[in-house]
């Protein structure tokens, strides 16, 4: 299973990944139009700044995920390959996953009163956020590769 890894030391907070995510999650698939969509699409990756450092919140597809344990409807589940997947149709917006995620990676969709999270954009070869990251702070690889390459 491949995951998105974040390395704070390479990040300069340009937010290109966030923009790429918004574009991808928009209905119109255009950044320009996305701003006019109702509701405005939300990125599944978010940043916080601490002094000179940035920290990204993105789903880590935990092996023992708190969100899966907390979900009362079974909308948050493990896929066959081990990723944590979210089924919007089963979601009733209790936002317990938002409460318990230790990475702050579950995104509440206020308008729909549901949640969403990074789904690794399986329809693409590489997730757009990773492609957008010119400084290689984000990488899309297996845990083993990540360990080896550091």
């Amino acid at each position: 299973m491949q995951k998105i890894y974040y390395q704070a030391k390479h990040c300069d907070g340009c937010l290109a990944c966030e923009v790429a995510c918004i574009e991808k999650k928009s209905l119109t698939k255009s950044l320009f139009m996305a701003k006019m969509e109702q509701p405005v699409p939300k990125a599944r990756i978010s940043f916080e700044k601490f002094g000179n450092h940035y920290w990204a919140s993105i789903c880590q597809n935990c092996v023992e995920a708190m969100c899966v344990g907390a979900c009362m409807t079974g909308a948050m589940q493990y896929s066959e390959t081990g990723e944590v997947v979210h089924n919007l149709e089963q979601c009733v917006g209790c936002w317990m996953c938002v409460m318990v995620c230790p990475f702050g990676a579950v995104v509440p969709l206020e308008d729909a009163k549901k949640v969403s999270k990074c789904d690794l954009c399986k329809d693409e070869k590489t997730p757009p956020c990773v492609v957008a990251c010119t400084r290689k702070a984000l990488c899309y690889c297996t845990p083993e590769d990540y360990e080896n390459e550091g």
């Binding site: 009362m72 917006g93 209790c94």
Partner: protein, 694 residues
């Protein structure tokens, strides 16, 4: 179970939680869902995190956000640490002894000068079973009249059900839904309001129970239901009556149950006579074939259960709707069987009898309805008020309530937080939180569960149980009637109340999930009520009609109290408050996490109504009713019908939200049958508010 962190609130620099290998078990005391909790403490005994208890057979580890948020507020800046007295408009620290002495002196003074009726309590948040019992004893000794959660939450539901079955409690446990064939959810968004227990309903759905949701809004519960029936606001009674008529006319009801166990069937048939499918379709906006299909479904899918919510209880014509649906369940024979009955968070196990000898009981010299309380306060008939709750936010016409409280001679608030009501008090007393008090907690599964004190008592906080005993001592009353610990309180209650006689603390501790009630001395517990077919009404049967022989009287929402005589031209829309998963009553508003989830209150508006008003998403809208106006930001959504506004009821001025309570917009109007205040379906108008704040 992993360790619990909230990074957005904790930040990168926060220290990780110290592992606590010794998690304490507790029970959530918020919504009467009764979810089991695990509490992690730091070395000082302060709560550092709250989890769901995987070993609790009812919630199975699931909880909602509310207990976590509440635990977070325990050590926040709004928590009251020590007793305070207001001097020249400012609070000054005093000792418990000084406070109790002063209250006792005032109390005795007002009893002598103005009679027992000059002192009232608004006591919706009195505490756990220990505090409740001490409060009962204290009220008996002093003649204090109290207004609890009833008028603002479930008075109508309780009273109407009591008229019908002789007992206002829920008759079947929620856990029975998996055995029922159909579950009718009316005006209840339990996916948000009983989130920790909602998995039962989804499990039932997986096992083939048909879930039907009747609601005005396309709620989160409706989204996962098998069938959603969107109904015009305040017309549920008409739908219920049409279902009754169809079922009676087509002989779809349980005839043997009706003849053996009910009274008033003729009156019922007569009352619903004029509610043809067509007429109901006209009133409710639900097509007649949908009503017919639902009636057939209810008749063919047996057993069935009913789960009503505040959507039909806290309204100004609640009496008719509740009776229609509960009568419907009765004639279908959905009573006293496995997988049948009425689910509710009302868990009344009766009150303890003969706690104090007759000679010491003082009766209040005046009784007033909740509605009449306002005037009595304004006219100076009431001198002193004891608050354990937040009436300045959660009672209707909140601004009027606040003014009325300001005008009183002496106000005491026993509270967790320095909230809107405490700000009006002369004496503020710090209360213990339910995690800091042992006691019994009921649940929506009709069980009683024991919880020990989990967290260390905060600062100088005292429970209601201790407070009332000590106050009685200062007032020179007999204190030997008061229990001095939660365990002794339960022992006392148990030995004076037949319906819980067999439920000892020991037994509750030993039984995972708790013990069902009633439970007789020999230990026989009753999972559901009425299995014997005997009802605690005077006749021993289900009373399908009211005492005045009229079964159900349907009142149109525009002719109901609070709307009666209000101009439809001036106030063309309807306004309701509805609840969300991250808030509970008025207490979660002090939590940062709750604020992170619900950044600000908003009003939900249908796109067409928004277009009429000329507002777009996020713009400010001024809502106005006969009692005042309020500015909220608009959220445009298709989940509400046209001409209907929905907002959240939780927020107060003296909280991080700094928001005028939404209840200010609701007139003091009660359902004429059941006595509940209405916090839904009140006529309003709205306009765009440009360039101005509140």
């Amino acid at each position: 179970m992993g360790f619990y962190v909230r990074p957005k609130s904790l930040g990168l620099n926060s220290k990780p939680l110290e592992p606590d290998d010794n998690l304490r078990t507790s029970i959530c005391c918020l919504c009467n869902g009764g979810c089991g909790l695990k509490v992690s403490l730091d070395h000082e005994g302060k709560v550092q995190a709250v989890f769901g208890d995987l070993d609790n057979p009812y919630n199975k580890g699931k909880i909602c956000a509310k207990p976590m948020e509440i635990a977070q507020t325990l050590y926040g800046p709004y928590r009251v640490e020590y007793p305070m007295k207001k001097v020249d408009g400012k609070f000054e620290r005093i000792t418990w002894d000084e406070a109790l002495k002063l209250i006792a002196q005032k109390y005795n003074h007002y009893i002598q000068e103005s009679g027992t009726g000059s002192i009232v309590g608004i006591t919706s948040k009195i505490g756990g079973s220990y505090s409740k019992l001490a409060h009962v004893i204290f009220s008996k000794l002093t003649g204090m009249v109290n207004y609890g959660t009833g008028p603002i939450c479930m008075e109508s539901e309780f009273n109407v059900r009591k008229e019908i079955f002789g007992n206002g409690s829920s008759s079947g446990p929620l856990s029975d839904v998996v055995k029922s064939k159909i579950l009718l959810i009316v005006g209840n968004n339990c996916a948000q309001t009983k989130a920790g227990q909602f998995h039962w309903i989804l499990e039932a759905k997986r096992q083939g129970t048909k879930i039907v949701v009747i609601d005005t809004r396309f709620t989160e519960t409706a989204q996962v239901a098998d069938r959603f029936i969107q109904i015009r606001p305040g017309t549920d009674g008409a739908l219920g009556m049409a279902l009754l008529k169809f079922i009676i006319e087509n002989d779809l009801y349980d005839q043997s149950f009706v003849t053996e166990h009910t009274n008033g069937f003729e009156q019922l048939a007569q009352a619903v006579e004029s509610f043809s499918l067509e007429r109901a379709a006209d009133i409710t906006g639900v097509p007649s074939n949908v009503i017919q299909e639902l009636a057939r479904d209810l008749a063919s899918r047996q057993p069935g259960m009913l789960f009503e919510g505040r959507g039909i209880v806290c309204v100004n014509n609640a009496g008719a709707s509740i009776r229609a649906f509960e009568d419907l369940m009765s004639i279908l024979g959905n009573v006293g069987k496995e997988g049948a009955g009425i689910i509710s968070h009302i868990n009344n196990y009766g009150s303890a009898k003969d706690l104090i000898p007759k000679k010491d009981v003082v009766k209040s010299d005046r009784k007033r309805s909740a509605e009449a309380l306002y005037q009595a306060m304004e006219e100076g008939e009431i001198k002193m008020l004891f608050i354990a709750g937040n009436p300045c936010v959660n009672w209707p016409d909140s601004r009027r309530m606040t003014k009325a409280i300001q005008g009183l001679d002496f106000v005491v608030s026993h509270t967790l937080f320095l909230d809107d009501s405490a700000m009006q008090a002369d004496i503020v007393l710090p209360a213990t939180h339910w995690l800091e008090e042992a006691g019994v907690q009921a649940s929506v599964h009709r069980v009683l569960q024991w919880k020990d004190q989990a967290a260390a008592t905060y600062a100088e906080a005292r429970s209601g149980g201790d407070l009332f005993r000590q106050l009685a001592k200062h007032m020179g009353l007999e204190t030997s009637y008061f229990p001095d610990s939660p365990q002794k309180a339960w022992e006392l209650e148990r030995t004076h109340n037949k319906s819980i006689e067999g439920i000892t603390v020991e037994r509750m501790r030993k039984t995972p999930g708790g013990v069902h009630f009633p439970c007789s001395e020999d230990g026989q517990e009753a999972e559901r009520l009425y299995e014997s077919g005997v009802f605690p009404t005077t006749s021993g049967k289900v009373e399908l009609a009211r005492a005045n022989d009229i079964a159900i009287e349907y009142i149109e929402v525009f002719d109901s109290p609070g709307n009666q005589g209000v101009s439809r031209e001036k106030y063309p829309y309807l306004l309701s408050t509805n609840k969300v998963a991250s808030h509970y009553h008025t207490i979660c508003q002090y939590s940062n996490w709750a604020r992170e989830m619900e950044k600000q209150p908003y009003v939900e508006i249908h796109p067409q109504t928004a277009a009429e008003l000329g507002v777009i998403d996020g713009e400010q809208v001024r809502l106005e009713t006969v009692t005042g106006s309020l500015v909220l930001s608009a959220r445009i959504t298709l989940s509400v019908p046209r001409g209907y506004f929905s907002t959240q009821p939780y927020f107060g001025l003296h909280s991080p939200y700094g928001q005028t309570p939404a209840n200010s917009l609701f007139p003091v109007a009660v359902d004429p049958v059941g006595g509940n205040f209405a916090n839904k379906n009140i006529m309003c108008t709205a306009k765009a508010e440009r360039g101005q704040g509140q």
